[in-house]
Every structure is written in C-alpha cells, then in structure tokens.
C-alpha cells in the first residue's frame, strides 16, 4: 500500500476568505468517498491572491497547483486523476502536456507551482517559505532553513548582531525606512533594564497585507526575528501588537508561539543557551493611529492610543518607560535570513541606499493581485506589466497609490521611476511599505482626496490641532470644490491647509494625509474642476455676467 498523497490547501485568510476551508472539506470528503488515502496540509499562502484557493499536490517532481479551486470543482479534479495522478512525468524538467495524466489538462491546472512565472520572477528572501510550509510546524520550519539565523546569533555578541544588521542595510519596512540596526544600537546601548522588543503588527494601511502574510503563512520567522532582536538589544520579553481586524493572524501566531515554546525556541533557556526570551500577543482595538509607534506604546500600556511627542526616542524611553526596539513585522521577519546568510548576501540585492528586497503588495483593481518580493529598483510599469496582468475591470489604469492611504497617487509620468526610497522622495512620492493600489479610469481623484481627509478626521487621535481640525476643514473645503463653490479660492485654501498639516502635525497621520490630497490635485487637476463646470452650466446668467 502506497503512502497517502499529500494535498496542500492554504489556511491563510486570503484563501479562507474565498472558500479554502470548504475546499479542504470537499477534498477530504471526496477522497473518503473514493477510498483514496490523502493527507491534507493546511499550508500558508504563496501570496498569489488571484489564484486562491490554490490547491497543491506533492508529486515525484515537485508540487503542482490547481486554482482558483471552488468546492464544486473538487469532484471533477478527482475524476481527472487528482491527487494521485496529478503530476507530470517524473523526468520532465518543466511542465508540458506531452504524456501527462489527465489532471494536468484540467482547466484549473497550473503546472509546477515553483515554475509559475509570477513566482519564479520574484526574489523571495523574507517570504522564502510562505506557502511551502505548514505555518505552525517547527519541524517544517527547520527543514526549510528555519532557526539558522537564531543559532548563529546565539554564538555572537550583541554588538556583532547589531553590526550584521547595520551592514545589511536593512531599513524599516513599515514605511518610515529608518535603518533597523541603528535603532537596535540605540536600544542596546541604553543602560536601563528591563528592555523590550515590540513588533508593530497594526497593519492598518489599505493596500498592505505583507504583515498579515508573515503572521499567517510563516509566523515562526517573526518569532525568530524577534528573538534575535531580543539577543541584540538585551531584552527578555517581547510583544506583538496585532490589530483586532486580524483574528486569523492572532490564532496562527498563538499556535506558532506554543509550538516554538514546546520545541525550546522560546522560554527560559533558548536552545540550552542559558538565554531567556518570550513573547506575548496583544490585541489592538480598531484604532488606525495605533500603527504609529508611540500611540501603540500607549495602547500597550493600557491607555488611549494618543501619539507621544518625540524625543524621548522609544529606543531609550519606550514601553513602560524602558528602552524598546520597535520594528514592523516584515522588518523583523527579514532579520533571520540576514543572520543566516550574512549581511553581504542581503546587501547585494537592491539599488542605492535601498538594500535588499521590497515587498510589493499589488492590490485594488488589478487582475493578478498578490505579494511580489523583488529587489528594490523595480518600476511600477514593470510591476503592472510583468505581474499585474491588467486591471480587473479591463479598463485602462489611471492612478496608482503607492505606500498606503498616506502615500501619493503616482501619475503615469513616474511609472518608470525605480521603486527606491530616495528616487521616490525626489518627486515627492513615498515607497512606504510597498503597497500598490491600482485604480482604473473610472476613479475620481477629487473624491479620493476627500476620502483621505475624511479618513484622517475619523482616525485622528486628536492630540494636535493641525490633524484634528485640519482634516475636518480639509474635507469641507474639498466638498466645496466638488460642488463648484468658488473653486479657485478653495483650492488655494486647500493648499494652505495642507502646508499647515505637513509642517505642524505631531505624527504621520496629519503630516502625510496631505500627500494623497496634493498629488491628486497636482496630477489630476481636471477632477477638481468638474464641480465648477457643473455649477456654470447650472447658472448660465451668472457666467454670462462674468463674461
């Protein structure tokens, strides 16, 4: 009797949200009906959101995929030989239909998953394991290079770990792009104890989902990264602050924490090294501004998420007044590979001062949305052409917002600019965390500008006036522009207001809300004139009088 066939059905929320649980149930039931022995592994997502639920089968020549699979497709897949005859001939170097079993000819068959152009053209370093492994299996993790960075870090001094991270050129992937190693150095050198490591997993920006993918598809890499951070700065306790909108992430993280503790990778004596480190997941409560690091600290301490003035730097005076290394999920998840393979390996990717890889999160109105991890320097046009596959609506692309709700709308004239922190800053853009939200030609940029102000008004913590009041006034002024009330003067007022918000706000919430607003106004001015055209059509006498 042969071993049961292994079938992979992702457990990530991007797969569950489109029916992965029902597909897994249907596969188990169908296999039972047909007396076929199978083993279902709930792996992470490969980040190819457009193909979810992406079901894979292990074959002699690697894993082959089918997707997007719906429960009603399952019986047909089995009729075609799934999962035992799903593969291609063992000797085939690449997928071809010649001599293949029927399953490979099924309309949902994708061939060898690793050979999919969307995946093969990427440089997966931070996300090397997502979709490959069972996210909560320590054995699976260690079989795929897991915990090698931690093992090396355990043999190093804190100074040497910090130097490795500085040398890698890693910068904060949450959006601010501050050099990670420098932050750690400050916390390491701070004399006070205890110290803390805090992971900012309050991924509230629309368009971004890389943090969620790490937490749901490879949470052990985050645990490993935070443990290394603890060794570097001298912390024995870490917190992961996860937003309440991510219940799946919380469940997967908790499971992974238990598994890591049971295997001796967390706790009182990590890998019998005599070093201590443990982690706790803390839940946010639906406040966007808690993604700002000092507001997050307030929230962790049990208060309203109100931004603190800086200095003092959190690295010196952070959580509970103690030195704290605060990093975003993707940043911390990148640390293990830097320690495992060395700073120079990582630094060899990228351009200019943007070293390593960027996790482009391609989202919005696009046919093939998903996670694209590539070296810095790729352009938006390449992202659209090579991966995007056009808009979902099949209409032309008109605007692309890069870097989240506080990022700019990047006009076509900049679509060939390399995605590199400095190159984007030069034209007033923000690479941020790398989210790319595509809008087709039905988008109204005046409306999007109004939304940015309205969102800021809704989420402002209220501590500083430019943000608290500016956002409300901003939405009102844009309303007047949209309805054509004295458009030109209102536009002057809007620019003036934006200037105040940029210069006078305490944090990025108020300080960057003008970015999408002004980029919409500067690059798509026609959308702000529609109101005055309507208004002049409505009152012909008035325009005649002016003429």
């Amino acid at each position: 009797m042969s071993a049961p066939a292994t079938v992979y059905v992702p457990r990530d929320s991007s797969a569950r949200a489109v029916g992965a649980d029902q597909v897994a149930d249907a596969i188990a039931a169908e296999a039972g009906r047909r007396g076929i022995a199978i083993r279902i592994v709930r792996n992470g997502s490969r980040g190819l959101a457009w193909l979810e639920p992406l079901v894979e089968c292990a074959t002699g020549s690697g894993r082959v995929g089918f997707g997007p699979v719906q429960p009603q497709d399952v019986a047909g897949l089995f009729d075609a030989g799934f999962p035992t005859n799903a593969g291609f001939p063992t000797n085939a170097g690449f997928p071809t239909n010649a001599g293949c079993p029927k399953a490979a000819e099924h309309p949902l068959a994708l061939g060898a998953v690793e050979e999919l152009a969307y995946l093969k053209s990427q440089q997966r370093l931070t996300f090397a394991r997502i979709g490959l492994t069972d996210p909560v299996s320590v054995d699976d993790y260690t079989a795929h290079e897991g915990f090698q960075g931690l093992r090396r870090a355990l043999s190093m001094t804190p100074e040497a770990i910090v130097k490795e991270v500085i040398d890698s050129g890693l910068r904060g992937r949450g959006g601010a792009a501050f050099p990670t190693g420098i932050k750690w150095q400050t916390a390491m050198r701070a004399p006070a104890t205890p110290k803390y490591v805090v992971c900012n997993a309050d991924e509230g920006d629309s368009g971004s989902f890389a943090d969620r993918l790490v937490m749901e598809s490879d949470p052990l890499v985050l645990i490993e990264g935070m443990t290394i951070a603890g060794l570097a700065v001298g912390a024995e306790m870490g917190y992961i602050y996860v937003r309440s909108e991510y219940p799946d992430s919380v469940r997967t993280l908790e499971e992974a924490l238990r598994a890591a503790r049971a295997a001796g990778y967390l706790g009182q004596n990590i890998l019998a090294s005599g070093r201590r480190f443990d982690l706790e997941v803390r839940l946010g409560a639906g406040s966007y501004v808690c993604g700002e690091e000092t507001a997050m600290l307030e929230s962790l301490e049990g208060r309203r998420g109100i931004v603190r003035a800086k200095p003092p730097l959190p690295a010196i005076n952070g959580l509970f007044g103690q030195p704290t290394a605060i990093n975003n999920v993707v940043t911390l998840a990148t640390v293990p590979i830097i320690l495992a393979r060395g700073a120079s390996f990582y630094k060899d990717f990228g351009v200019g001062r943007s070293r390593g890889t960027l996790t482009v999160q391609l989202a919005g109105n696009v046919r093939q949305g998903g996670l694209i991890e590539v070296a810095f320097g790729v352009t938006l046009r390449q992202v659209l052409d090579q991966w995007g596959g056009g808009t979902a609506s099949a209409r032309p692309v008109r605007a692309i917002q890069v870097g989240g709700p506080l990022g700019t709308y990047v006009p076509p004239s900049q679509w060939d600019t390399p995605l590199d922190y400095e190159a984007y800053a030069k034209f007033g853009g923000v690479v941020g965390h790398g989210s790319v939200v595509v809008h087709d030609d039905t988008v109204d940029l005046a409306k999007m500008a109004r939304f940015a102000m309205q969102f800021c008004a809704l989420e402002s913590c209220g501590k500083c006036t430019p943000c608290r009041i500016g956002a409300v006034r901003g939405a009102e002024v844009i309303d007047k522009i949209i309805t054509g009330q004295d458009t030109e003067r209102q536009i002057t007022l809007l620019r003036d207001l934006c200037d105040t918000m940029v210069s006078g706000s305490l944090c990025a919430m108020g300080g960057m809300t003008p970015f999408p607003v002004l980029s919409a106004l500067n690059h798509y001015p026609e959308d702000f004139q529609k109101g005055s055209e309507h208004a002049s059509r409505r009152s012909p006498q008035k325009s005649a009088a002016v003429a």
């Binding site: 949200a17 991924e203 509230g204 803390r282 208060r303 919005g364």
Partner: protein, 162 residues
C-alpha cells in the same frame, strides 16, 4: 436595557481580572476579555474594572470610548463589517455597500430594527488583493459580489429569530 443580567456582568469582569490583572498594561486585555464574554462592555462593569486595576473610572471609560472595537451596547446578532478603504473602493466597495444597505434595510453603521444584523464600515481587512472584502463575525470574505452577499446573508437569515 442591555439584556445582560448584572450577575453575569460581574462574573465576567471577575474572570477577566483574574486572568489578566497581573499583566503589565492589563486594561486592553481585560476589556477584550469582557467583550468576548458578553459581546460588549456594559456601563455597570466600568466601576469594577477600574477598582480591579487601580484606575479611575474616567480612565477606563476613556479607553472604552476611544477604541472603535469596544462596544458599549449589546451588538446585533450578526455584525457585518464592510471594508470601505481605497483598494476595496477601486473594486466597487461603495456599490456593494449600497446594495448591502438596501438588502438589510439599514444604513451603514447602524442595526436592523429586529437586531439581527448590524452593518459597519471598516478600513482594511488586509485582503486588498482580493477586493472587495468583508467580515461577518470573525469570518472573512473576499471578492464579494452582490449575489455572494445575498447568499451569505440569506444563509444567516434562516437562523432562529432572536
């Protein structure tokens, strides 16, 4: 009235304090725990939480009212949260929201008269590459069409009357 007996509320707070009071920065974990047990945080529990954590009632109330996630009133049986952020907007989230309001007969950020459904706008569920998305309870749904919305709501509508 809240529909929760005072004794239930007291017991829930006691359990939450027992589990979390010793943790540093315990207030949010305690509030999450109480809401998880009762579905919301009744006004009458504020005093006990404040005493248990050595805080003022104002501090506890301030935190409850600051965070959108914490509810001060009993929620509808099914909470439908629809993402209205940029990526979902680019895929028709507004039209879907209009459809949802018409189907359920209640405005965004309000509940149906029979208390079965509440409709809430949220800003990003992290499913931006499969927009538009929404969440019912703790279950996420992506690539939601009006037809799919009706199916999901229809399945819940079959349940017993509250």
């Amino acid at each position: 009235m809240s529909g929760i007996k005072a004794v239930d509320s007291e017991a829930a707070v006691a359990r939450a304090l027992e589990r979390h009071a010793r943790r540093p920065g315990a207030l949010l974990p305690v509030l999450h725990d109480v809401q998880h047990q009762l579905g919301f945080i009744p006004a009458e529990s504020v005093d006990a939480i404040a005493r248990g954590l050595n805080l003022s009632r104002a501090e506890v109330h301030g935190v409850i009212s600051y965070y959108d996630h914490f509810r001060q009133h009993a929620p509808a049986r099914h909470l439908v949260q629809m993402c209205q952020a940029e990526a979902c907007q680019s895929m028709g989230a507004e039209a879907l929201a209009s459809h949802a309001q018409a189907r359920l007969g209640c405005a965004m950020n309000s509940s149906t008269d029979d208390g079965r459904f509440a409709l809430e706008a949220v800003y990003c569920l992290g499913l931006c590459a499969s927009s538009p998305s929404m969440m019912i309870g703790e279950q996420v749904f992506a690539r939601v069409t009006p037809q799919r919305f009706d199916q999901l709501i229809g399945a819940l509508d079959q349940g017993p009357q509250p």
